[in-house]
Symmetry: C2
Subunit: 209 residues, 2 copies
């Protein structure tokens, strides 16, 4: 998945020298391959090797593993944001949100260990990946607000918790090596958020410690 609009580092930075741009692109491609094969914790040395570049060059372009990850995910995250926008015209609103969250699971399981990186970024880190996640959060918040306005989902549902639940479900699925587990967990969570499920906190007969 390296269909980057052509190559280009970022979309607004000063142009790189030709050889530097080439190394940059080789690194992104190698990282995508490395992450796919060995997960988000793939060896950076190995990625540099694959790219045919010194390890120092990798660090020069991407001072942290997270920066490299953010660049590799650029396209797919933009796609997730776009998908949310499309879904804003779908009814019922809660179904649109469900559909979107399901594709988020697909995204978070692109390669192993990604859910952890995304969870950290969602937690509000001020990093490239954090910014990308912020965009997803905003997009998701609109879908959630629609479902709440339609009276379909509980008002106390929170988009951040929901997105973390998606990462948690993806993570659990990975640990279990069971691709269906994530979907099951998400369904449990969403079932708990429907409004007709709201006003009963517990069978509430007796209170226990």
């Amino acid at each position: 998945m390296q269909s980057r609009s052509t190559s280009q580092n970022g979309q607004g930075e000063r142009p790189l020298r030709a050889d530097a741009q080439r190394n940059y692109d080789l690194l992104v491609a190698a990282a995508d391959a490395g992450f796919t094969e060995h997960g988000a914790e793939a060896s950076l040395e190995d990625i540099a090797r694959r790219a045919g570049v010194g390890i120092g060059t990798l660090y020069r372009h991407f001072p942290t593993r997270e920066a490299l990850l953010a660049k590799v995910l650029d396209d797919s995250i933009a796609a997730m944001v776009a998908r949310a926008t499309e879904l804003e015209s779908v009814t019922p609103a809660s179904a649109a949100l469900t559909t979107w969250l399901e594709s988020m699971i697909g995204h978070a399981t692109t390669y192993s260990g990604l859910s952890k990186a995304l969870a950290a970024a969602l937690a509000g880190t001020c990093t490239e990946l954090g910014n990308s996640c912020q965009a997803m959060t905003t997009a998701g918040a609109r879908l959630l607000a629609r479902a709440q306005a339609a009276g379909e989902l509980r008002d106390d549902a929170d988009i951040k918790d929901l997105l973390m639940a998606v990462q948690a479900a993806a993570w659990a699925s990975e640990q279990l090596a069971d691709p269906d587990a994530a979907q099951r967990m998400l369904t449990m969570v969403l079932d708990g958020l429907r409004v007709d499920a709201a006003p009963r906190r517990a069978p509430a007969r007796r209170r226990i410690r």
Copy 2:
């Protein structure tokens, strides 16, 4: 938390030579301290150093990190199983399950990274920790069955999924550095499992792709 019944390696193995038993105990204590301070991924070399023992001795007694973790968790896991048994006499049954799962969150957050180890063990590894988790699963299954028999929780709720959801919630909480997040996630899941929440799969007006 090293209140091991005295020392004793396991409870049915052949006795160790006095010096070996001493090293064994030192290692367990050092591991507990190390895991508490640096998480379940704490350096094994550091643990051996703390115990004042060669790294080879650590590997002789505990051939894998998981074996060491299992021994360190022995007491607390036994306590969780006992707690489940106590709770079998509490009503309503679903509240008893909820209470137990909440203490499971506490247990899974004893130190960082523990939820991952427990998730792997719950996934059905044939290891010491896997066996301990099997005992917890059995204990939990009884609490869940009670709540289902009482008609309080959906029949399609599964104890393995539920215990994985607990680990996932603990994990998310850890990533967010928000101790309350796990409780919130668990509540969402449990809300989705109540019987009065069962027969509505979605607002079901229109079907979207």
